[in-house]
Symmetry: C4
Subunit: 218 residues, 4 copies
């Protein structure tokens, strides 16, 4: 009964988080602007308008992919996080807050990156959107992992430490395009693009003390 | 079979509520306004515009946090509410209605709090958004708890009474910033801010007659 | 295994439908208009603007309640609908289409009902929003119930017939305010209001041939 | 335990996907434009305005139906896809990205198809919206089915091959209205309309090596 209750607790956390991820990711499309009739006259017709929207499409693809990966990693974290409590719920809320903010930063990027005057600011805010979530994931990991508070009791401490280092590294890594964005927005976008490729690498499988459980998650 | 059906019933209530919470919380971001090109000229560029949006960011953080806590508490309530019925579904709908209204009050607050002329009204509506849900949670608690209608049969009546008193107290507490908002909006916002800190305290674990079940929820 | 697969099938149908219900219900708030600065000057300040929005609040409450009840009834139907198939999925999609349309009819109602010139049309479209779902629920019931295709094999045919008659009656009933709306919109709104009170009555518990299962759903 | 973990994994993939489907499908309604007071004067009143919105209603119905069928087919695919991994999650994210894009293409279609000057472009983008998802479903199928990587080990290879051929055929089929749209938009829309009728046909039940499992789904 005790276990069941814990499980359910975690289930609703996952359900709620999945909801927020799913909505944030789908809201991205609302940020691609539907033109008004007047605008089409200046844009040289609908075909032209649609072609010139490419920064919005690019922003859509990048942000969709990033939120998707956050979902996938959240999902993966909950294969070794086994329960939740009030504090962890609160940290998770702040994490979701940072993910749900991305449609805003994406919209600004899509609308203004192609506008010489505002390119820098558009890239800066886009990078800000990407730099907030990693430290919150780090806090989640540290809190859940501290003395195996919420994680599987058999999970290796070395695995948790490795994860923490990776999160610190990735936060720092996103700091580079952010710093560059003020003067070299193009370099910034290139770095973000190549970082995304790293996201294609599957996360390390969690390591457990009892070996036979190790190959559980692919 | 009887039990299973009840459980499922409750499952869909939770699933649906989680959906509404997740959507209401994520819609908040849509209320942060994407500027139009013309507006940026008056705002002194995109960097400036983004910095001057701070009331919207503040509103986003506060409302996201408040809805998140409502979700967490709803979640917590359903560790001792064991089933549902038509009437409870209807009360829950009204509760969700009050939660889903917050993106509106948040948007008004974010857009006008910084505008001397409208500060009072902006804070008033923001407080209205916060004062409607607690009485509805109270009604939910009273209805579910009455003669242990929907709650765990082992749940202590004293626990339910304590919860009811807390909800009455918190409704009254939100009344203070609401009353102040008409003349002292700044004081109002400060009180709301400090009330939020109370939300960080985890809810009391439910008390059951059979002791061994007591430490179930953290 | 066969049973499990069927169950899951139904689970995803419910999950997806709950999602659509939850989103449609929460999107309603987006239809309450956030004023622009210029509009407030004509409206006589923010307090006045917010007070004059009452038709939008009313529309929000009515539509939230109606969608909520549809959710609750859908939930209730799936206590005796035990499985699904492709055709039923398709009918359910059309039903959800009609539910997800309500934010549009609600927005039109909220924006124009208070505008003498457009009151009739605003009420007409609001009624149209309410008249489309019942026939689709009827089709769902008839399809699922035909020779106990998808419902519990012990469900009484008399119960299914009773349900069908009720749905025909309620479709007809919503037809009255729709017909009246072209000339007597006020009467229309009053009838809709009173019909809503009927929604507070819990649905009849499903009747099964084996008596002991009868008191399952409250 | 190993199995359980896999199952859960798949559960969250389905939950998340259902969320995205449900949101994308419900967002469609936001693309039907609420008129402003000024616009009604040119439109000849609210009744007239609402009648002239028919292309938006049509776009709503078509896109709702298409996304609904994608949901239903996704649901059906997961009766024989038994687990997931990081790569499959990523492919699924790209698939969802293409589905969540449809509210945009639908909005453009609804707003401009009735506008002689822009009809072609409106139909083209609408077709683009429909042609991106099928190849991604194909990739999902091929990846999951390769050496029975993620599918039921008893699933017949011939069934998987048949599915792949169908997906190639349907991608090609959507290519025709896309190609025609540049010059013959009306023909394009007619072809899309008739293709939709094919969607009413239930998908073939998956074929397993052990015969008794064959009649599981419908």
């Amino acid at each position: 009964m005790q276990r069941l209750n814990y499980k359910m607790s975690k289930d609703r956390l996952e359900m709620f988080s999945d909801g927020v991820f799913a909505i944030a990711i789908t809201l991205l499309v609302l940020e691609i602007k539907i033109p008004k009739h007047e605008e089409l006259l200046h844009a040289g017709g609908l075909y032209n308008y649609l072609l010139h929207l490419w920064p919005s499409y690019l922003a859509y693809v990048i942000s969709f992919f990033v939120i998707g990966i956050y979902w996938s990693n959240h999902h993966w974290m909950f294969t070794f996080i086994k329960k939740t409590n009030h504090v962890f719920n609160v940290i998770n809320i702040f994490f979701l807050m940072s993910v749900a903010f991305m449609p805003f930063t994406t919209a600004i990027f899509g609308d203004f990156v192609n506008d010489r005057e505002y390119t820098n600011a558009a890239v800066t805010i886009f990078c800000v959107g990407f730099i907030i979530p990693p430290p919150l994931v780090l806090i989640m990991t540290l809190y859940a992992g501290h003395k195996h508070r919420l994680v599987d009791p058999h999970l290796r401490t070395s695995f948790l430490n490795g994860l923490a280092y990776k999160l610190i590294a990735s936060t720092t890594l996103v700091g580079i395009p952010l710093a560059l964005s003020f003067h070299y927005p193009v370099a910034s976008v290139c770095i973000i693009g190549s970082t995304l490729l790293m996201f294609l690498i599957p996360p390390t499988p969690p390591a457990y003390d009892n070996d036979d459980a190790e190959q559980i998650d692919e």
